[in-house]
Amino acid sequence: MTKSSKLGRSISRRAMLKGTAGAVSLAAGSGMITGFPYIHAAEPKVLRYLGTAVNEGDEISKKCLEDTGIKIEYITATTDDVTKRVITQPNSFDVLDTEYFSLRKLVPSGNIFALDAKKIKEFGNITPVFTKGQLPNGKKIGDQGTAPWKVLYLEGANSKTFSKTPTEFVTLIPTVYNADTLGIRPDLIKRPISSWTELLNPEFKGKASILNIPSIGIMDAAMVVEASGQHTYADKGNMTKPEIDLTMKIMTEAKKAGQFRAFWKDFNESVNLMASGETVIQSMWSPAVTKVRSMGIPCTFQPLKEGYRSWASGFCVSKAVSGPKLDWAYEFVNWYLSGWAGAYLNRQGYYSAVLSTAKANMTADEWGYWMEGKTAVNDIKAPDGTILEKAGAKRDGGSYDDRMGAVACWNAVMDENDYMVRKWNEFIAA
């Protein structure tokens, strides 16, 4: 082999790797990391926790170790990579923290262990948002998209089919959820915003942004299309091909007209765009709004009349987990629902699954501000002690019932997902 041909090839390898590193490394890596059998009883209790950075607080793992003796080892990945990992390397984690909409991909893969509802102490106290699709006061909430109650139960322990009626086999034990809307910079917009249509309002040309996760971005787009009266979807979370075409056409026109400054994919990107004034209106997450505000920059998580797009995540266990490890996993989930973690999540602007236990771990003032939409009596502090809001502040969107009650749709995986991804690439290329 001559020098030059070696060089030529090693470089095309470089190009190749850029594109296929993911696929190749996943293929090569699968099955390499296995759970070693736990023989000694005195083995330290360790659980490998796979999830996105959003829920993986050091405080939670510290407190968990203190209370239960279980050491949590975080494996952090993006939403998409978490799903990839579950499907290709089910042996590489014990506990999985993922979103309900991913279940339509994860459950058919057979890599998820159905948890036994009877072993979850607080299962009966989980908010009816998850179990029945209604608020604690009985009000029904929007069920478009992959709503949690549609995918909460399996027909049997080893079933790959979701059950329509409650069974004891639970896919994900809910942990945290929220209702998402648009974040705005009130100081730069200087007028009230009340509808999703504002996202594509030419007034904000070059200053708008959406999420760069196709399945979520298209739902925000659908909220806009529906709000502007151009089309009413039977289910925004499960569009037909003509509906996808229509939605992407409207988005493409907006993109060509220069409506969007940039699309964001990660929490910090969304904070940077908003804080630097690159965007003044964009889809956003509640803690990101809080973060912008804690930098001293005005930012509102604006409630809109068409409602919220909601998401929810929860815990499940890898099929590869068994023996004492499975018991620890149950112990961990039970600890998580027992209140301390719930209060921690609520203080970040998320919602916890078991409201009663979280309430017991929060002060009346905190509970009033975060959950009841009341005016804060004292300064509201983040879990780490920094001041988030001064006394007298009120939460954007109001109480739990106001916010969760106004949910219009849930994050989803569509039946036409493959077509949608192709259309999304077309949209980017336009």
Binding site: T2, L7, A15, K18, T20, G206, A262
Partner: protein, 293 residues
């Protein structure tokens, strides 16, 4: 007998590299190619022959004529970015290398200055790119400066999240890949040739065009191969600097992978590999590096 022995030793010497090459390059590449012809559903690859990954990719290429289909638009755009980056890195890289090779006399300074060129690589790729935002953003340093100087009234929007910013970041990142091979070629030019050209009455420009550039060709081609292959497959820089709104061949693969459509991603990777190989073979046809080295 001795001839056979020599050949055997030569093969033996090449064996470790060949083994690594076969195991970590040829084999995975083979897998990718095989997978690209598989079928898939929402959550798994189905090992049944299907060219869906390819046919989906070229969807609308004939039906939409005279409009361009997604994949052609994407490749045209990628090629455009690639060409711009290549031209600029070549110009800057050649100039820097020329300065280092012919104007810096001491070896120590040559080494020190070459090391300075690696500064962009001291931080991570992502940090390097994020650093552009406070500089080029709507309220960034450049816009503030221009406004302060009274040159513009409105901030320039095209400075960031545009093709301009993408090319700027790519040039910033990859000029070094041009500098090194060109410098390497230049340093090996026999200084007496330049003296001879001068003695024969050639002007500085004539020496550059007729002596230095022809002798630097292998370096230029090697540098070009580096830059072109990296830019063709890039999706991180184009994504971040283009505000995720600029299409690139790498990005198509990324969004397919993220949707767990591995065979479709593999098909796109094979197409990208094919296009890149075509460009490289065209380049090596212009200059036979094998002969020149």
């Amino acid at each position: 007998m001795t001839q056979d022995r020599k050949t055997f030793v030569a093969w033996l010497q090449a064996a470790p590299m060949m083994l690594v090459f076969a195991l970590f390059f040829l084999l995975p590449l083979l897998f990718v190619t095989i997978v690209s012809a598989w079928d898939y559903n929402e959550y798994e690859m189905i090992p049944a022959f299907s060219l869906r990954g390819y046919t989906d990719t070229f969807e609308g290429c004939i039906a939409d004529l005279p409009n361009l289909c997604t994949i052609l638009k994407t490749y045209l755009n990628t090629l455009k970015l690639c060409l711009l980056t290549w031209g600029l890195t070549l110009l800057i890289g050649f100039t820097v290398a020329y300065f280092l090779a012919f104007h810096v006399r001491s070896k120590t300074w040559q080494i020190v200055l070459t090391l300075l060129c690696t500064i962009p690589f001291w931080t991570s790729n992502v940090i390097r790119m994020i650093a552009w935002i406070p500089l080029l953003g709507r309220n960034g340093l450049v816009n503030r400066g221009l406004e302060g100087a009274g040159l513009i009234k409105q901030p320039l929007e095209w400075l960031l999240f545009s093709e301009f910013s993408v090319v700027l970041a790519l040039v910033h990142l990859f000029t070094f890949f041009m500098v090194v091979p060109i410098f390497n070629s230049m340093i090996r030019i026999d200084k007496r040739l330049i003296e001879a050209a001068y003695d024969a009455g050639a002007s500085g420009w004539q020496t550059l065009v007729n002596v230095i550039i022809p002798l630097t060709k292998p370096g230029i081609v090697i540098g070009s191969i580096f830059v072109i292959t990296i830019v063709m497959g890039d999706f991180v820089t184009i994504g971040v600097m283009g505000g995720q709104q600029i299409a690139s061949a790498g990005k198509i693969i990324e969004s397919r992978l993220n949707a767990l459509q591995f065979p479709a991603a593999a098909a796109n990777a094979v197409i990208l590999l094919g296009v890149t190989i075509l460009i490289i073979s065209a380049l090596t046809r212009i200059v036979d590096i094998r002969k020149e080295l």
